[in-house]
Symmetry: C2
Subunit: 204 residues, 2 copies
């Protein structure tokens, strides 16, 4: 999508949560739309040879502290989830289903759904790896729970998430959040200011 900021993320990524809340301001400032790309880092890490931050001795403890300090720094609530990291398959499928829906009323809820899922996990401590939890969150933003229940079992929706992960790897996405704008990649919540300045300067 031209004129967009492609925002790749895994719901299981705290920096994805922080970035997703903060990217809106930058997008508005530069008249860009946010193109949400939920992906599964587990599948990407198999290709990129990485592993979740918290799996590393030394780095893992720092990471959990840094999630909290980074949230405090930007004034966002953060409660490190008890069950972490989790698999966000149902949540990610739900977003792809909403985002590419032919019904405008469903499609228009995509951003609300993304933010509500993140908030449920990182603020309210809900287990978003559970499909029933995702359905209730979707219901909360005005999406039809029965319709989404069917969609989550739809092979086309399952395949869409798979193809999205493959497409992300093709674009060399290896972390969350990763933002691509006009072909330039920015990795990390801590690169949003750089992305902002990059757009302000007209790209260099």
């Amino acid at each position: 999508m031209s004129n967009s900021i492609e925002f790749y993320f895994d719901f299981s990524s705290p920096y994805g949560y922080l970035g997703a809340q903060r990217i809106k301001e930058v997008a508005d400032k530069h008249n860009r739309v946010i193109d949400w790309h939920p992906v599964l880092l587990g599948a990407i890490f198999k290709v990129s040879g990485q592993a979740p931050l918290v799996n590393f001795p030394l780095k893992g403890d720092y990471a959990i502290m840094d999630f909290q300090r980074s949230a405090r720094e930007v004034g966002l609530p953060y409660a490190h989830p008890e069950n972490f990291p989790i698999g966000a398959v149902a949540a990610s499928r739900a977003v792809w289903w909403a985002k590419e829906n032919t019904e405008r009323t469903i499609q228009s809820k995509t951003t609300d759904l993304v933010q509500a899922i993140f908030k449920a996990y990182y603020v309210d401590g809900q287990d978003i790896s559970n499909a029933e939890v995702v359905l209730n969150i979707a219901d909360g933003v005005g999406l039809d729970k029965a319709v989404l229940t069917d969609a989550l079992q739809d092979q086309a929706v399952k395949d869409r998430l798979k193809s999205a992960v493959s497409a992300a790897i093709e674009k060399k996405v290896f972390g969350s959040p990763m933002m691509i704008v006009d072909g330039e990649s920015f990795w990390g919540n801590d690169r949003i200011e750089q992305l902002d300045r990059w757009l302000t300067r007209g790209g260099w």
Copy 2:
């Protein structure tokens, strides 16, 4: 050292180079001294289960681009070294020797030596893994080449670097640069602004 910013780094880390140039301003602003801790990430990675950034598919290419963009962002010259990463044993030993020297004239050259070695590698493309190159850089900042030549072979100097790496691991240092101030750790050139704000707020 109280009232200091402990600055852990590997000379083979581009973010270490950028951070080392930028930390002075923050230290001056808050009346802190910089306590240089050259370490060897190779030894630390064995404990922390990590590997050099550029060894990872996907992430590696991004990293090399990000070194250059991050340098441009802060207005520092950067030429990605042909031979990268390298082992900075001699360079690191030289800094420990200078830093803990009983001769005040030698000790006072520590910061100049750190900056000169970084510049030689990331700006002038010199091979700082070569001890002779390190000796010439030291000579350039006014250190006695013959005295340092002997020091680099001194078992006490060799042991000092080893104990410094062990002490860094004890302090959960796993990357470069890593800054510890009043017991709080900050990892990355991209955390210097956070460190600055943290000190401004009086630590939280």
